[in-house]
Amino acid sequence: MYTLQECQRLIRQDIIRMTSAAKSGHPGGSLSAVEILALLYFEIMHIDPTRPKMEDRDKFVLSKGHAAPVLYATLARRGYFDPAELTTLRRLGSRLQGHPDMHSLPGIEIGTGSLGQGISAAVGMALAQKLDSSQRYTYVLTGDGELNEGIVWEAVMAAVHNKLNNLIIFIDENGLQIDGATCDVMNLGDLVKKFEAFGCNTILIEDGHDYERLRSAIASAKTVKDKPSALVCKTVKGKGVSFMENNPAWHGKAPNVEETKQALGELEAYQNG
């Protein structure tokens, strides 16, 4: 097993290599969520990569399905499949579809890609865990732009109504969506207040790339007995690559050969938090 520091470096470099090889894909929003996935898969979740369908496991849903590269890299590095397969991303016949496919790749709990739907499915999964008297958790990652979708708020209402304390929602608040800053495209306002008003146990994580802050927020969320938790993580889109950071142009664009070389070099030296 890699250290968490090694994880973030490997996963970030994988994201660059994959999207570069595919000549398309979403590096920006993948890089902003690296620490959240690395911590969940390498430390927090009760899972077994050799038995991806193991009964009574923790579940993770990537509601922002376009960040598939970060999920694929994490799964590969955790042992679900050979990292050599990562560069087949988006190719005809590849198990690494543009958005995750639950039937092709081990470790994908449900196929996502159309925004807002993953969180709704995650509510269903958390309900199923309750019906099965499981003590496990369902973790779901949404983008901030994704919160424009009405179904997200329907899902949050249902999670609160059903007292799903086993549902932990991560909001990757990197502040950017395709057309620009979230506050310019469709202002979301104060997300902490919004999730609180909906009845979630809401925690603001000022630096969503800081493992220790993420770790303590998850631990705190697990002490709550009667409501879901929303962890609002302030992140940087494109984190770790100087020319990608905070630039919405890198939402859905792959780096060329030169840019790839520069990004990989920067990431070799990059240390998070």
Binding site: I110, S114, Q117, S120, A121, G124, A128, I151
Partner: protein, 308 residues
Amino acid sequence: MGEMRKMYGRALVELGEENENIVVLDADLSASTKTSMFCAAHGNRFFNAGIAEQNMMGMAAGLAASGKVVFVSTFAVFGTGRAYEITRNLVCGNNLNVKIVCTHAGVSVGEDGATHQSVEDIAIMRAIPNMKVFVAADAAEAYEMVKMAAKIQGPCYVRLTRSTSEDVYNDKADFSLQTSQVLAEGSDISIFACGLMVSRALQAAKELKKENIHAEVINLSQIKPIDKETILKSVKKTNCALACEEHSVIGGMGSALAEVFSRHYPVKMDFLGIEDRFGTSGKASELLEYFSLTTEEIVKRAHRLLER
């Protein structure tokens, strides 16, 4: 005369007793769809999504991905319309065990009018890969259909009506996944019908018989996958087909038939249905007359087709 909805509720209650994995969701219409019967019997496995059909479908997908057999119900217009893209991407895209059973399909919803009368649901559901589409002709068939839906793997759409239906089957319907049923044999014209139109088609066949016209009546309760063998066998005998449905003539049962005939055995054909328009308010019986979804119209269309 029976109510499809009540038989749906009864089937659900029985399924809930037989299988711990059955879960039912509704969107604040459980008293109308009769999922309330399941709620009363197995309340811990019933979830009301509130008036939020999109999230209801998303939750259903999550439950099904976790091994549950999930029935979701609301009115057809909301279940197939409002929740469409979640059904398309989450439910069918992932090929999950979600059974969408919608009541209040067609203009026979009655007084509520156009907003609540789904005339395009078969077309919408039929176009989605992995989806199976069933339409119940009466209460007995609705019961069998729901029992069957629980057994098959993957998503399906079951279309039920609000109003009472004339009984097509005496007590027990014989709904099979493989075959469509020839309810009356004949060699002059093939009349294909689904839903409330089946009993009318049977009545029309009786009328035609008086004039020595022998109509074959087929209940096409399984619209997708379609039973090519039975329908082709029929038209090879009669060389003409009349499709009758309480649905738009665009994309419904008639279109499904025409897709098969035009490829394999082109025959002259007519379509009795809603002609590219919305419904309106009125009593169910009045509306079926208003939209010409009657025995008399079937007889008239049959004559016209035979003369063509």
